[in-house]
Symmetry: C3
Subunit: 511 residues, 3 copies
């Protein structure tokens, strides 16, 4: 690129290129477009900016730590356990106070189990037997409690018995009590301490009132007036999930406690409050389904004086609490703001695209707007002229101009003919005699002709046949390529009418 | 659609339609646009591509597995427990080595609790009593340890006592030691083994050096020179969070250990390294708050020779470690690359939109550019002519052309009049004699007129009143609609000047 | 803004402005653009809409609850433990049935440990000693089991011994068995109950067949024909991860069980099915690495008749199962649909941008299309004329027109000269005699001139020097600014040819 090119480039660098628009004074499409614009603007302002806070940078990767503590004691008096008091160390499993914890509400206790042989429980189908051969020794009972010893134990004169097994004996045989053992657990309280931190904004908060008043946390209860006292009554939590406490205490269940922090850090930190929600997480919808409820077995191991190990097996029913923390913090940031505005503008482009489709395809006058919207340019390839050929009076090569048919008042027979100078290269013009009605431009003889379209009677004949009508092919030569601007004009009644313009690029070559 | 239409469609399918731009040689707006372009490009390249690696497909759903192991023993000698050695099985709860584990650092032990009656602790307000009636039998003490039996126990001659309760007796009465029992836990080590896998890219890695040298993991310590030896001294971890070990050992606390894997899989796998960060997750900001610290109670259950159950209650203070793994892997993918470039280009559209607003509304010459940018086209509705009416010499219906006022040199009085053929349909032209200064086109007689705007003296009179000025309404007929291209030209001093063009669609109908 | 302005505004509000397009009849670029369009459309339809279901609003924050239950018993007979039956309460840690649980498959038991003094294990390097002074009393053995008492214990005549320590004695000395103790755990079954809920759509489902047939869950096994029976054989799970059960049982390991819910809520709820996948989460790739496997130590605490505490230490090897639930639900929503379509259209804009680059820079005829695409407008600053100056015959100020050089048939010497009325303001036209070849417009005398570019022989001389060629500067005056439309036309052979148009804004002032 030369010096001039450089200068031109640096000048054109500061040119602003803006799309050329065609104003279609069509009220229907205009209204449609305005409606779309208003919809997109409304969507942008209301949904993206007000509801979704699109002007904020968000942090959803919160660091959260949960400490839970259950409080409450209850007293039971059963034939099996005798008088017994239950405190936290007894009924909360595991004891660590993490985000998942379990409160025992019902219990099947099988005390003093030892490793020895006894009869398998009758409720296990695989253990039923009629004779010893039904109990292959060494084989475990499917879904049972032990390994068969090879004997079939029948009580009294019964024909059917159960296999003898080597197991923790006696095996668990009792079925679930019909009344929860710890029905009074309803009054226990759960204290949930949640500390969160949004690392991106270095913002942290806790859901507990930051007070030095020791009495506060000992006496308060959670409620609308006390949102920063996260002490919940167990019965209330269950009822908030829509469940019945005595039912869930009997069968067991899983309750989710969601804590949601939706913080707008453009506001004061005190506006960033936790929101609690409670839901039943096992399928309560099928109360009688065999898969409902929650229970598990665990054992406490002891040794007697002789060092023999024995255990107390417990099948515990109860409520498992899953405390889950979600959070989102947002703070104003210029990048998402710009991106969201940008996408909104891009969306308007989509709206314009849709309206364009309507304008140029669907409405009645669509072909008119289509013609206005699209301006046609194309390049034409002309066949090379024979060197040394004469063209004055000789038949010229007629190159049909594919663009001409789009001129509304010419039919497809329009053409433009060109003839190069005799035997010479394109560069350097020569004096060339053009035939009548032809024009000499940049070394070419040019003639254009056409016929009025859509008229039965000839419309003033060929353009070239009348002295007052003519076509100009103005040509700029650039090696083997010439830009050709074709304008049609007509003289009639002493006035000259310019009929139209057509821009073409003619590629000319000499063999 | 006919055969010709099909051919035209298939031809126009390969046309490329490109927006027409107006080059506004306005340096200010040009500079503004270039600045916006550079900003967006910089944003795209630096932020989207270099920082956010927008050319990569990312996988954030990593599969992670954590195995932790604490090592270390310590020896204590207290009046309560006597000489005692603490090893991992004693002080780590739970023992499984999962991602959340707790190291006991302080302990209140209440040994040999049995289910019987005793006096409630004096520190519980609800248990205070003056007489037996203050202790309704069967009612649990609020935030207490047992159920009231109905008696008020007063020591000596004290007026005030505490209710007798049925509970695990004796109740816990001691307060927190002032010095942590396991203060030497500072020297314990934590080994954190983390295995991750990005399922989308089937890439897996571990944070432990893959060596067969058994001595390596026994002797190494984590540090900048040993990033693949994830063995941490407990005291160091605490100090990295900015906390004091002896303080946290006394009160308890929660420490988060974040492991972050930010892997660029376009690089070598060895470049994908874990990054560790340590933070205090309970609210250290309020050291003296009643809600700070971390502790829980648990019990070990025993049976004596007579089979009576007793337990040792422990209130454990300590440090809970939450190991959290985050990860992100990215690998080049063509789809996000294209989408990000596309959004960048769309954003440039938004920049152009902004510059357009400046160009056509804010700058001084905005109305000039507005005229250049927007090319007006519209359709005009003409009132139907009466069938059988004559128009030669008769007053024609003057349809004001709403578009004409935008021609800068005509005032609002410009109009175009049309007249259809006598009594005939639009199709098929007829020989019609048009009156003077009118032109015959496609079956219409057309006349246009206007007055030069902004001049007091008439500007060469009406266009129609001079033989050397004329308007051409070239009309193409398509049923009831005609496209009308109106050009104004003027002959003066033997030259013909084309003054302007206006495109209109005229809808004509006969009643 | 006046009343007229308001009316104009309200009218133009319903105008639809559509981009003007230039149709480039270039088959290559057209084909390229169509290909890009088809690619983007395919991407949009296939990837965004069919694969990614971009027309749906999605919820990925599912609430999930997992309940697990292991079943199976096994019998072992070792010299250490004697005959022993293992049931769930023995080998599942922790017992609660949460999403992470551990099944013991191998065990090193060190029974009857008591707090006393004994020799440290010989496998610990730090405990080796030759004399008592090697064992500083009170110092814990690094990576050992206790605290040194100060004595060096040598067996027989050995020179080397180990320090005596205070610890849980005897210390663990056995090494890992070469055959897994609970090798038959292969036949245990895991029952995984998973309840999920998508809160946004209030849709919940469980992975267990909702039946009242109690026998179903007792007999069924997971398989393609039984997807709603989530009961897995432990050995099968291990083999599905590509591991060998006996190996993993020996060393321990971690297995991840992923449950994926990918729900299309536009379909029936029964189409929303869980998908299970199983993977090994510890680094199986380095079987012999020292860091492979999974084990931990825990203890069972007892008291003997005298109240002395003793414990059984167990080093448990086994399989940890991590059940992980992922989920995504989608439901048709108009907003993401519109946004995705909009981004697709915006992406087409990016495609057009790319094709534009090709069209106007890369192809051979690019400069031609560049000229067609960009229409140049600019404003020109003219120097103020001297008040009272005469311009008839006097040298006029020649303002070079920077835009003229873009007219292809004029060289850079083109100019337009203007002259204001004698001593008067711009408003109000006066009768001014313009010199020859100048035109009077809106109070200005205008003349334009140029020279045909690229031709050695002068092209009909200066435009102004021929009576049949002329330039019209039509001027509208607006205070100190005049819009100037310049058209070049040429009369030749009795025809008038309009050569081109150039729009300029001329700022004129009088000092």
């Amino acid at each position: 690129m030369g010096q001039a090119g450089c200068k031109g480039l640096s000048q054109s660098l500061l040119d602003y290129k803006t799309e050329k628009y065609v104003i279609a004074k069509n009220k229907k499409v205009g209204l449609l477009y305005r409606l779309l614009q208003v919809s997109i603007l409304t969507y942008l302002v209301v949904w993206v900016f007000l509801v979704k806070k699109g002007y904020q940078d968000t942090d959803t990767s919160l660091q959260s730590s949960i400490i839970t503590k259950v409080k409450g004691v209850t007293f039971t008096n059963t034939s099996e356990l005798g008088e017994r008091l239950w405190d936290v160390a007894d009924y909360v499993i595991p004891p660590q106070g993490e985000n998942v914890f379990f409160v025992v509400t019902n219990l099947i206790v099988t005390p003093n189990q030892q490793q020895k042989t006894c009869a398998e429980s009758e409720s296990i189908p695989d253990a039923l037997c009629y004779r010893d051969s039904d109990c292959p020794p060494g084989e475990p009972v499917v879904a049972g409690n032990g390994v068969r010893t090879g004997r079939c134990l029948r009580v009294g004169n019964m024909q059917r018995g159960t296999c003898e097994i080597f197991a923790w004996c006696p095996v668990e045989t009792k079925s679930r009590p019909t009344k929860p053992l710890l029905g009074k657990a309803e009054d226990f309280t759960i204290y949930i301490k949640n500390f969160i931190r949004f690392p991106k904004f270095n913002f942290s908060k806790t859901n507990v009132l930051d007070t030095k008043d020791k009495a506060f946390l000992k006496s308060c209860h959670f409620g609308p007036e006390n949102p920063y006292c996260p002490i919940f009554r167990l019965g209330s939590v269950v009822s908030w999930t829509g469940s019945n406490f005595q039912e869930i205490a009997l069968q067991g269940g899983v309750i989710g406690i969601q804590i949601e922090w939706d913080c707008d850090l453009d506001k004061a930190p005190s506006e960033c409050n936790p929101r609690y929600s409670f839901s039943r997480l096992d399928n309560k919808f099928s109360e009688n389904s065999i898969s409902s409820g929650y229970n598990f077995r665990f054992a406490k191991y002891y040794r007697d004086g002789a060092g023999v190990e024995f255990r107390t097996l417990m099948k515990a029913y109860g409520i498992r609490f899953d405390v889950m923390v979600n959070g989102k913090a947002g703070k104003f940031n210029i990048i998402p703001t710009i991106i969201n505005i940008g996408s909104g503008v891009a969306l308007m482009g989509a709206g314009a695209f849709f309206c364009d489709l309507v304008l140029i395809y669907l409405i009645k006058k669509s072909h008119f707007y289509r013609d206005k919207k699209y301006e046609e340019v194309r390049s034409v390839m002309l066949l090379p002229l024979q060197p040394g050929g004469t063209f004055v009076g000789a038949p010229l090569i007629r190159a049909p101009l594919p663009g001409l048919e789009t001129l509304p008042w010419l039919d497809g027979n329009a053409w433009c003919v060109t003839a190069g100078p005799l035997g010479g290269p394109l560069e350097g013009p020569r004096k060339v005699e053009c035939s009548e009605n032809m024009l000499y431009r940049a070394g070419f003889c040019l003639r254009a002709a056409g016929r009025r379209k859509g008229l039965q009677r000839p419309w003033a004949g060929d353009l070239v046949s009348r002295p007052d009508s003519a076509a100009i092919c103005h040509v700029t030569s650039d090696k083997s390529e010439a830009s050709l601007g074709l304008s049609f004009s007509l003289r009639e009644r002493a006035s000259t009418y310019v009929l139209g313009f057509l821009d073409l690029v003619v590629l000319v070559g000499w063999g």
